[in-house]
């Protein structure tokens, strides 16, 4: 149903959008941040996409693959589609892309996504022998993943190192998109002007100023109902909302402070979408003060997440009562965290049970400096509440983000620290394992629990996705009791679109957390 609009102007129209930073470069396996992935999404079709209900939908794949052992997977690729340079999009187009992304020396941001595929250890980056010294790390043993093969033009066969039932859900993610052979030959040129296979092609990229894509007329799928998208770059700190209000942008999110205002003003045109990103507080379990789980539970119980949401965010976020956002992320359920609600009496009781808070000791809150101050905001409120409800005084530590990362990694922090998490793919596992899995040495909190490790292993080994999900939920409940971290809230994006859009065509994709631009029609 390509371009059904009756007005010429609309089909040739331009959508003006804002982008937070200039993308580093346009390469799918490196597009782990939202900026380049949101642009590339318009230019590439992958094996799967996520539907507007969050389900996995085949695009270039024939069907959702299945596996008997959750180790060996076979993916059938639709035939007959082409890259914008005329090359065919076949199984090889995927295999070469994934091998490129996994190879350590390419230093691709998405490399770790391939770590479940067999042979990853041989292609990943090697340790530098002298740290920061002058010697370079040796090249990896292999150039390609041994577990990845294109058995013929339409078949990709994948062998994982361990069973993973959620493997197909990963395949909708940017890093699994195909790459043209020409791209491989001239990778630097391709980073500047990608060769896509989607409905749009890059028209002009003025670095740090604007990026324009235009409809690719040979596209065989659903053709977009307008011609051009122009993203103007508004670096962090340059307000965009004024430009939206001045009709210079078609889509924008109001600043938190103007959320209610915008809601009243734009009504229907404001779309609220739960976003999968989580804000939580990590606790240093290696510190004796936080060793007892009752202390951790008490701290969590002292926080009135609802009030915090009202006071700081005009009620637009979702107070967290689980470790992964339910209703967005596949396999996530509400209420897995019993201590994620305000209960001052119980908090005091638990605190007393744990022997009380060490007299005279101040709670040390660690926050990373951010120019916007957005993080400081809620952590300060949390500190205030703990002070108010449990009588524990607090102190701030502001450090640069990199220092916080280093300190938490090295377990050198003596108090709660602010963390955030955005998922890489739509699976509950992505909230549990990367944050709390891997053992006491690896986790920032120093958390390690036999029960949790076991539950995760069982979940990964589950014969099918449903069983796997159930096991992961069991693992999540273990976290809910141990409380190595305190989930605080899931954010929600509020998006307003301009009156140039046909409201019927505006649909939000929950996984992207944004309006699906491919479907938009101009009035």
């Amino acid at each position: 149903t390509g371009g059904g609009s009756d007005s010429e102007g609309a089909t040739d129209g331009t959508i003006n959008l804002a982008q937070g930073t200039d993308p580093a470069h346009m390469i799918t396996t490196d597009a782990t941040e939202t900026v380049s992935s949101s642009v590339l999404r318009m230019m590439y079709d992958g094996l799967f996409s996520y539907s507007n209900t969050g389900d996995l939908v085949p695009v270039l794949a024939e069907a959702v693959p299945t596996s008997t052992d959750n180790i060996h997977w076979t993916i059938k690729v639709k035939q007959g589609t082409k890259f914008q340079n005329g090359e065919a999009v076949d199984a090889n187009a995927f295999v070469r892309a994934w091998n490129y992304g996994a190879y350590g020396p390419h230093a691709q941001g998405g490399a770790s996504f391939f770590s479940r595929i067999k042979g990853y250890d041989d292609v990943k980056a090697t340790e530098d022998p002298d740290g920061d010294g002058p010697n370079k790390a040796p090249d990896p043993k292999a150039k390609e993943l041994s577990g990845l093969k294109a058995t013929d033009a339409s078949t990709i066969s994948v062998e994982l190192t361990a069973p993973f039932a959620g493997f197909p859900t990963m395949l909708g993610y940017t890093v699994f998109w195909p790459m043209a052979d020409e791209c491989m030959q001239k990778i630097d040129a391709c980073k500047e002007k990608p060769i896509g296979n989607g409905p749009f092609a890059l028209k002009e990229w003025q670095h740090d100023i604007a990026l324009t894509i235009e409809r690719w007329d040979a596209y065989q799928g659903n053709k977009p109902a307008y011609k051009t998208i122009k993203w103007r770059i508004f670096p962090d700190g340059a307000p965009t909302w004024t430009d939206f209000e001045a009709n210079q942008l078609d889509i924008d999110a109001p600043p938190t402070e103007q959320y209610q205002d915008a809601k009243a003003k734009y009504g229907e045109r404001m779309l609220e979408v739960k976003s999968p990103s989580l804000s939580y507080i990590g606790l240093p379990l290696y510190d004796p003060t936080f060793a007892k789980k009752e202390i951790r539970q008490a701290l969590s119980l002292a926080i009135d997440r609802d009030l915090l949401n009202q006071a700081l965010y005009q009620g637009r976020y979702t107070p967290a009562d689980s470790f992964a956002p339910p209703g967005i992320i596949f396999g996530a359920t509400a209420g897995t965290c019993a201590y994620c609600k305000l209960d001052v009496a119980k908090a005091k009781e638990l605190l007393a049970k744990a022997g009380g808070w060490p007299a005279g000791k101040k709670l040390q809150l660690w926050i990373n400096t951010a120019a916007s101050g957005a993080n400081e905001k809620w952590v300060k409120a949390v500190g205030d509440q703990i002070k108010q409800n449990l009588g524990i005084e607090y102190e701030y530590h502001l450090e640069e983000w990199n220092k916080i990362l280093q300190l938490t990694q090295d377990h050198k922090i003596d108090g709660p620290f602010r963390m955030g998490w955005s998922p890489d793919y739509n699976y509950v596992e992505n909230y549990l394992v990367p944050i709390y899995g891997g053992g006491a040495k690896v986790t920032r909190t120093g958390y390690e629990s036999e029960a949790f490790t076991k539950a995760v292993a069982e979940a990964d080994a589950a014969p099918n996705l449903q069983d796997s999900v159930a096991k992961y939920q069991a693992a999540e409940r273990i976290l809910g009791e141990d409380m190595p971290g305190i989930p605080v809230f899931f954010s929600k994006s509020a998006t307003v679109y301009s009156d140039r859009f046909d409201p019927a065509s505006v649909v939000v994709n929950p996984v992207m957390g944004a309006i699906d631009l491919r479907l938009v029609k101009l009035k």
Binding site: A107, H207, I209, A238, P239, T242, E245, Q248, Q406
Partner: protein, 335 residues
């Protein structure tokens, strides 16, 4: 003359060298105290791998061991830096693009902002100063003086933000509704810069940037005018029976401008500081915005690269002016 040029050049080189060393030392200290700035590359979202960090550190030249010793002046590193500067390499930004390219791309826009800024200073500062001097001790004089004090006390960012809403959204909205989107006025009253209209959309922020400096220029202009109005040569001009306008323009204004022009020159450095905020908030692709972003991203190496370039340009520029003076005015050479 030749000797003077050589001497003045040597001096400029020395100053540049010292200024760059100062900058270098500040950066080294920053890295020594705060750790590897390579993390900044990845922002707050991503945890970089060791390999990624290494590549970034290498490109930033932050892998030097002296950067681990607090207080070490890192002289060998400084010499490397100077060598790179000599080759036109002022480092790379977060996207691995050369800072010098970035600056070259951004300089025209900053120059536009400055052009408006200077024009505002000239028109408003000199005009108001003149008016205040001519109508001294009258209502308009008091009004102008009060205005300079108040405008000089409003932080730039407040002014720019207020302008963005008042002019960009409200007035601009009205204009766009009544005159259409593409009317020149509608374009001028946009809330942010647009590369399609690089001059029109720089007018409002240029004026906003000029506000703080205008206060000083107005005041100096007033004082300078008053001094000249009382001067003997103005008395002569009156005695010659020249009209009031001519006495004012040919015999007072021109003389009063000399210190004002000097102040304008001196204020440009300060305006660059204001340009950081103004360009940042107005989304103008200028050198100031580059610094604004780098500061927000804790990206000290870029700030240093840009400031180094600015310093070199500034010093070379003043060298040029001095030489020009020497050519024009033979007395200057005998200082």
């Amino acid at each position: 003359m030749g000797r003077y040029v050589i001497r003045r050049l040597l001096q400029a080189v020395l100053t540049i060298f010292l200024a760059l060393f100062l900058l270098h030392y500040l950066t080294s200290l920053s890295i020594q105290i705060n750790g590897n700035p390579a993390y900044a590359f990845f922002g707050g979202q991503i945890t970089p791998t060791q390999e990624q960090l290494r590549v970034v550190a290498e490109r930033y030249h932050t892998d030097h061991p002296c950067l681990k010793r607090v207080g070490d002046p890192c002289l060998s590193n400084f010499m490397d830096t100077l060598g790179r500067y000599a080759n036109g390499d002022f480092g790379q930004d977060l996207r691995f693009r050369p800072v010098s390219d970035q600056v070259v791309m951004r300089v025209p826009n900053t120059l536009r902002v400055f052009a408006i800024n200077i024009a505002t200073w000239a028109i408003a500062g000199i005009g108001l100063g003149m008016l205040a001097a001519v109508r001294r001790e009258k209502f308009s004089d008091y009004l102008i003086r009060a205005g300079t004090i108040i405008s000089g006390a409003v932080p730039t960012f407040l002014f720019v933000l207020a302008l963005k809403y008042l002019a960009g959204v409200w007035i601009g909205g009205w204009l766009r509704d009544h005159l259409g989107d593409d009317n020149v006025l509608s374009i001028i009253f946009r809330p942010s810069w647009d590369e399609a209209h690089p001059w029109l959309t720089v007018i409002l922020p240029g004026i906003a940037l000029a506000v703080i400096g205008t206060a000083g220029i107005t005041r100096l202009m007033r004082t300078s005018m008053l001094e000249n109005i009382r001067s003997d040569h103005v008395r002569t001009a009156k005695a010659k029976g020249l009209t009031g306008g001519r006495v004012l323009l040919a015999h007072t204004l021109r003389n009063s401008l000399i210190p004002v022009v000097t102040l304008i020159g001196l204020s440009l450095g300060g305006a660059l500081g204001g340009a950081v905020i103004t360009e940042g908030l107005w989304n103008i692709r200028g050198v100031g915005q580059f610094v604004f972003n780098a500061v927000r991203q804790n990206d000290t190496p870029i700030v240093v690269g840009v400031v180094s370039l600015v310093v070199i340009c500034y010093l070379l520029f003043s060298l040029l002016i001095d030489l020009l003076y020497a050519v024009l005015d033979p007395r200057i050479r005998y200082e």
